[in-house]
């Protein structure tokens, strides 16, 4: 009974150090802490939820196998998100060679419908999801993971100046999306049947 609160109280870095020392069962706690966050971080990388789940699983497996290489001087989240980013890139490269299945694509909503659905959402993360993958990831790491510019540059393998520029562009584009979203709501209130056409 005492073990549960004790594990919950441990920091990510402590848990990682203990897993590296041999307490493999403690990795489950890290999985439960990070799987959701990784899922949303990788949302932009693939089309379907199933692919994202596969990427999250792959990330945790890689982290588990190489946890003795984790440097406790850095935050565990930085290390884990770096692995996730790299896995996503390598997966994207390998998937480029495979042609998409047209029958599977027909069942999915079209890009315009997705844009409209997201613009109508009240959640700012849904609006941020309309940004490019790099911009979305930079925003996620900055605001959801509360990482510094240096940490983001480490995860994304970019220079700190490039990260600043990326965040600047993300904010500008997000401002435009929010403007369009507000505009679409006004249109929807005025003429509900026509507002979809404004984005076509």
């Amino acid at each position: 009974m005492d073990k549960v609160p004790k594990v919950k109280q441990l920091s990510d870095e402590d848990l990682a150090a203990r897993v590296a020392a041999g307490s493999c069962s403690l990795f489950e706690e890290l999985v439960s802490r990070y799987s959701r966050r990784l899922f949303h971080f990788l949302r932009h990388r693939t089309e379907t939820d199933q692919d994202i789940e596969d990427m999250v699983q792959e990330t945790f497996l890689k982290a588990f196998r190489s946890i003795d290489r984790f440097n406790p001087e850095w935050k565990f989240s930085t290390w884990l998100f770096t692995i996730a980013g790299r896995s996503a890139i390598s997966r994207h490269r390998s998937n480029k060679k495979i042609k998409p299945d047209p029958t599977a694509a027909s069942s999915l909503p079209g890009p315009e419908e997705i844009v409209i659905q997201k613009q109508e959402s009240q959640n700012i993360w849904e609006l941020a999801n309309l940004l490019s993958a790099k911009e979305y990831e930079a925003l996620w790491l900055r605001y959801a993971e509360d990482m510094s510019i240096k940490e983001i540059s480490r995860v994304t393998k970019k220079k700190p100046v490039s990260v600043r520029v990326l965040l600047y562009r993300a904010r500008l584009n997000l401002a435009k999306i929010i403007d369009q979203s507000a505009f679409s709501k006004k249109l929807a209130a005025a003429a509900p049947a026509k507002h979809k056409l404004s984005f076509l």
Partner: protein
Amino acid sequence: MFCTVYKWLISQAADSGKPVSGFVKNHTHRCDSCREFAQLCESLKPKFEQDKHAILKNYDEALSEKIISALPKERASESVRQRISRKFPARRPVLVTSLAAAFLVVAVSVSIIFLAVPRSKDTGSFGRPSELASAASPEVLLAKAESPLETEYQELKKTLDTTTKFLRSHLDFHIGPQTE
């Protein structure tokens, strides 16, 4: 015209967590676009934080279970490393080996150079002034007389003298300085 620069400065302030400087504030009072952008940047952090919890709920709980069940019970890299260490004993540090090899190479090179480079000819047993000074002593003279080079020299001299005498007695010609 300079709105891009002001917006960049506003974004920088949002990244660093510091307030925007005075001249940027003055500009935002006059410029609607930059004011809106500054307000957006200020509101982003609490808004993202607030909506993060809502979006994280939108998640399949079974995924964590799936990942945990897929994890191997033992770390593969660890077991492989243990197997390798059993097969091959731990090697000495590479640095020590490299240093030893480098030292050996240097020693061999110096030896080759020492043997190959021709040195100045030996001037004999009494080449140096200190040796010349000690040449008068009977020990040195005895050593010189007993040296193989000196013995050979004496032998050759004797042979030459004998040959000269033989030739002089049998033939009618003269070798060496003329004597009346």
